[in-house]
């Protein structure tokens, strides 16, 4: 059997099993183990690959950022941040919709998990939106769309996985995600202001109230400073920054704000322990799948198709990859998608002479969009369940919001200098800059 045929068989088996209802992790492993029968590879080495796929120091950051999100959500410390968002933008047209978006930007700086963001907003702001007469489908669509920022604004779990598997600077990816993350936030706020439900008009909060809310939420808002400050100053790796953030929540935030929550911590740890194993089990399976894709020369085959249309033009290659990942993101979770397609991404990055960091942020921004598209838009599925509205209705209501994502993706592809400005300034090595001989100034390739 030819390599192409084995690849198609492996992919089809995975999709068949996955859509029959086999968990993603087992559907991936089953596809790989069946495909192995047509190659010279031993089953034993493929099973070993499952372990080696997660045996990475960088991936340790994933549970830490999930733990931070889980602890923050379950201890209800986030209420203070919601209040701050209310005092800042609650008076605008569609006030609570603006609060959802601004809070998601704050929370994105603390947690790398979109689902945690959806859970928090569904419990806290969604009931308020319901009382003010917001359409539930709009509430679900907005919460899901805003939660996607958690995977762009640092710390981002997708960035960690991309950096760990693609050998790209995770700190650089964190910084490069800021521009698309903020663009999506601004886009959602603009949409809510002009075209969203009006909600109930409220008075602008007086300065004293804003100051009080800022003071109340100052301690939680230190977390992004710890994370990015630690990474940029070279004090911590992203993994250590995640651990320090978790320790900060445990020894500062919870004792100060919710001392009684200490008794709930064992349960938080047990649940966070289960929660982190789910994406990482998928990572283990996807890394075996990705290894097989690379072994069967999948990157050459796909790169051949793409360069056949785009030639070696970087932007054209990226646009075609965007199309590919919009389709992939509709059917597959982002984390396994990144790992499975990494060999192909690397090949195309080389052919198009694209900066790996730029390619990374384009892929992540595109996959983030997959969180709100049917049939497998995880954030939208969770949001519609929690808000109590049909998934179909939520999809229809989120269609206009897709424009925000399309514009952001186009911006990220077409204006790499703007997107990479922050990493270039703060972490020059991440974009390929190096120190000149005998000087401390950086030389950056064009």
């Amino acid at each position: 059997m030819s390599n192409g045929a084995i690849l198609i068989l492996m992919g089809c088996l995975f999709l068949l099993f996955g859509y029959m209802g086999v968990p993603v992790t087992f559907a991936l492993i089953a596809g790989v183990l069946l495909a192995v029968q047509f190659t010279q590879i031993s089953m034993q080495s493929m099973v070993g690959q499952l372990f080696h796929g997660i045996d990475s120091e960088a991936l340790l950051a994933v549970p830490f950022f999930l733990l931070v999100g889980e602890l923050m959500a379950s201890s209800d410390v986030v209420h203070r941040m919601i209040r701050l968002a209310q005092t800042l933008v609650g008076h605008m047209r569609g006030g609570l919709a603006q609060v959802v978006t601004l809070f998601s930007m704050f929370f994105a700086g603390i947690s790398g998990s979109s689902v945690a963001d959806v859970a928090v907003l569904s419990r806290t702001v969604a009931p308020e939106m319901d009382k003010e007469g917001y359409d539930r489908a709009f509430t679900a669509a907005l919460i899901a769309s805003a939660s996607t920022m958690a995977n762009l604004i640092p710390p981002s779990i997708m960035a960690i996985v991309y950096g760990a598997t693609g050998n790209v600077s995770i700190g650089g990816l964190f910084l490069a995600g800021v521009v698309p993350g903020v663009l999506i936030g601004i886009g959602l706020m603009v949409y809510s202001y002009f075209w969203g439900p009006a909600g109930i008009k409220k008075k602008r909060a007086p300065f004293a109230e804003i100051a009080a809310a800022s003071r109340d939420s100052a301690l939680p808002m230190v977390i992004p400073v710890i994370i990015m400050g630690g990474i940029l100053s070279g004090w911590f790796t992203p993994t250590e920054a995640g651990m320090i953030a978790a320790i900060y929540v445990l020894v500062v935030l919870i004792p100060v704000f919710r001392p009684h929550h200490v008794y709930e911590l064992p349960r938080d740890f047990m649940y966070a322990g289960l929660l982190y194993s789910l994406p990482l089990a998928a990572v283990a399976a996807a890394s075996a799948f990705g290894w097989m894709v690379a072994y069967l020369r999948g990157p050459d085959i796909v790169a051949g198709y793409i360069t056949g249309i785009a030639g070696t033009s970087g932007p054209m290659i990226m646009f075609l990859l965007v199309v590919l990942f919009v389709i992939v993101g509709d059917f597959l979770d982002a984390v396994p998608a990144i790992i499975i397609f990494m060999p192909i991404i690397n090949k195309l990055t080389e052919i198009g002479d694209i900066k790996p960091l730029h390619m990374g942020v384009v892929v992540i921004t595109t996959l983030v969009f997959g969180l709100i598209t049917p049939p497998y838009g995880l954030s939208l599925l969770v949001a519609s369940k929690y808000v109590g509205v049909g998934f179909g209705r939520a999809v229809v209501r989120s269609l206009p919001l897709y424009a925000v994502f399309f514009l952001t993706i186009a911006f990220v592809v077409l204006f790499p200098d703007v997107v990479l400005w922050l990493p270039k300034m703060l972490l020059p090595e991440s974009v390929g800059c190096f120190k000149g001989p005998g000087s401390s100034a950086y030389i950056c390739p064009p």
């Binding site: 997660i54 045996d55 320790i247 740890f269 322990g273 289960l274 194993s277 283990a284």
Partner: protein, 186 residues
């Protein structure tokens, strides 16, 4: 709100009809071990940073961190199998009823069972081979890490059989297929 808490339960009552009470302790034990793993690797990572900061690094700490991390992933994988908490591509099966539902559910569990048998057998062979490989500088055999793969395989197989037998007897449909997790009232 209650539903959000319910998802965090030590022994999940969802899909009760597919579970034997005799295995509840195993689910609880796996959840506790997941908690222990994440706690221990948080602690190990903290000690690693502290010992490096004071100029007396304990190099084996990083290996301890990785071990707890990997064990946590595979133990969580087994726990998630019993709790039906894995990532799924679709919920189409849940909308089916009667014979078509049973046929697909049985096929799904058989696929997971076959995967678990392969994980156990080849994972075991791989772990035995790793007895001759060591992690530097602590010289811990690699088997300490990879041994968790066949152990998880056994547990996943056990839970798949549990679900197959109970699904065959009681049917796979349950009240949770129509469950409403909404936090907002109807």
């Amino acid at each position: 709100m209650a539903e959000l808490q319910h998802h965090r339960a030590l022994i999940l009552q969802r899909h009760r009809h597919l579970k034997w009470r005799a295995f509840d302790w195993l689910e609880a034990l796996l959840m506790v071990l997941c908690g222990v793993c994440i706690f221990m690797f948080t602690l190990a990572a903290l000690c690693d940073v502290v010992t490096r900061a004071i100029g007396a690094p304990w190099l084996w700490l990083q290996q301890g961190t990785t071990a707890f991390f990997c064990w946590g992933v595979f133990l969580g994988m087994a726990a998630a199998t019993r709790r039906n908490d894995h990532f799924y591509l679709t919920e189409i099966t849940k909308r089916l009823t009667g014979t078509p539902r049973s046929v697909i559910e049985i096929a799904n569990r058989l696929i997971v069972l076959v995967v678990s048998v392969l994980l156990t057998w080849f994972g075991w062979k791989n772990a035995m081979l790793d007895l001759g490989s060591f992690r530097m500088p602590s010289l811990i055999p690699l088997t300490v890490y990879t041994g968790i793969v066949p152990a998880a395989g056994v547990l996943i197989g056990l839970f798949s059989i549990e679900q197959l037998v109970n699904g065959w007897r009681n049917g796979f449909e349950g009240p949770e297929d129509r469950e409403n997790v909404a936090v907002l009232p109807e």
